[in-house]
Amino acid sequence: MSATPEQLDQTAAEPESDEEVTAPPADEELVVEDLLVEDLLVEDVSIDGMCGVY
């Protein structure tokens, strides 16, 4: 469902202070990080030239 122009206006409201933008609550930071880690699969390999040259 798309947002109405009024809703967009509300979400785009100016923050009350700079702090709200630069320093989100610590709990919120943790949640975001957990989601990212959970969502990604990281596989490490040593590639050494992939056949490369003699």
């Binding site: 699969l41 490490d44 390999v45 040593s46 050494d48 030239g49 992939m50 490369g52 040259v53 003699y54």
Partner: protein, 420 residues
């Protein structure tokens, strides 16, 4: 803004290069030379090799043969090198290719030849690549790794060097690489060690004659604080002429596999022995044929081939001098598009080990006259050997390029000019 500038601005590790891909992204660490493949967990159910076999936006790395000129004439040379091709890319053209590789975020290039250091602009190109965030690993016979050159290499970040040696004794090595080549390589390693460059590579092509010397090679590498790198002999270039007599026997292959397994990641292999995975546990690495999918070759005149071991018209995808340059060849050429399609296992489709060996090396099959959809000539189950015996009399493909130095007859009429 370049990637390096962005990373600097964001305070990210300059040693790590990040590249988005359709499945997520790649992160390459220049210091450790390790690649991290980042995927969304939901997509992780697909095997990594399957993901990579469908191709990438840019190669992980590529081989670049800067010149066919060489001061040696190794009997197994994969590119039949010897003489310089007058159509060689100029310094400015090479720099243009490096600019393009930087834009595509190719993590590094394996520079070879010929002997790349015989190019007068070699050091200039090396510095240019590093300054443009393209790492360099170059392969050399060591003849120009003087104390000064060694100090220069040791003082340059993101440059690695591998010294070629195909025998742990002069007797074994010089039969393949020519008289005096053992002493030359040892002197180069002494110079690198004296310059304080640790971890350079001692690069060995495993043959029937040197497979019994693996421990000796390791000792030589350790003596100079180098890392041993073993690679597979292919019937490519002049290697086609000596493959029958030099490729390891079945028993030697088994011995090699066990040795590699015992040494793990302490010994590099260029991921070239994945056909041995059929013996059991997979060897370290990606264990797939990356030709035209994650790697390719640029030859001295700018022709782009699927891999350094298939210099043949059938595997030529285009040329960097064409409109669109290297990126167009990599992303749009018919050959590379075809190689990224699901491949048929052919005669191997009913083999329970196919998932381990993936049918082996495309070049080894092609230059021994075997069908690409079928077993590797060195298949650990012996299917390749049987296929070779059943080949019949059809002609075996020869490399499209031969820059070997011509043999000079001892007297004017020793050879018929009509036969040359």
């Amino acid at each position: 803004m370049t990637s390096a500038e962005l990373k600097r601005a964001a305070g990210l590790d300059p040693e790590v290069e990040l590249r988005p891909e359709r499945f997520g992204g790649l992160a390459y660490h220049f210091g450790t030379r390790r690649l991290s493949i980042v995927r969304r967990r939901g997509d992780g159910s697909r095997a990594l090799t399957d993901e990579l076999e469908t191709g990438l936006d840019a190669p992980i790395c590529l081989t670049w043969e800067l010149t066919y000129a060489c001061n040696l004439a190794c009997v197994h040379c994969l590119s039949s090198s010897g003489r310089r091709d007058p159509r060689e890319l100029s310094t400015a053209e090479c720099m243009g290719v490096i600019d393009e590789l930087e834009r595509m975020q190719v993590f590094y290039v394996n520079i070879g030849g010929g002997e790349p250091t015989v190019r007068r602009d070699f050091w200039e190109l090396l510095d240019y690549a590093v300054a443009h965030h393209v790492g360099v690993k170059f392969s050399t016979n060591g003849s120009r790794i003087t104390p000064n050159a060694a100090a220069r290499i040791a003082g340059t970040d993101y440059v690695d060097v591998q010294i070629s040696l195909d025998g742990a004794t002069a007797e074994v090595n010089d039969r393949v690489r020519g008289p005096g080549s053992y002493a030359t390589a040892i002197r180069a390693m002494e110079n690198l060690a004296a310059a304080g460059f640790e971890g350079f590579k001692l690069s060995v092509v495993v043959t029937r004659e040197n497979v019994a010397q693996l421990d000796d090679f390791k000792r030589i590498a350790d003596r100079y604080s180098a890392q041993l790198r073993l690679t597979r002999l292919r019937p490519s270039g002049r290697g086609a002429d000596v493959w029958d007599e030099l490729h390891p026997t079945g028993a030697q292959q088994r011995e090699l596999y066990e040795w590699l397994l015992a040494h793990g990641e302490s010994v590099l292999t260029g991921d070239s022995f994945f056909h041995l995975g059929g013996y059991g546990e997979a060897l370290p690495g990606l264990n797939l044929c990356g030709a035209g999918r994650v790697v390719c070759l640029i030859d001295p005149i700018g022709d782009v081939y699927a891999c350094p071991f298939v210099i043949h018209d059938e595997f030529r995808a285009g040329n960097v001098r064409e409109p669109g340059g290297f990126a167009a060849v990599w992303r749009e050429s018919d050959l590379f598009t075809e190689l990224r399609e699901p491949q048929h296992a052919g005669a191997c489709s009913s083999c329970g080990l196919f998932d381990k060996c993936r049918g082996g090396c495309m070049a080894a099959k092609f230059f021994t006259g075997l069908p690409l959809a079928g077993p590797d000539p060195e298949c650990v189950l012996g299917h390749g050997e049987r296929a070779l015996a059943a080949r019949g009399a059809q002609p075996i493909p020869r490399p499209s390029v031969d820059m070997s130095k011509k043999r000079v007859p001892a007297r004017a009429c020793d050879e018929s000019p009509l036969d040359r």
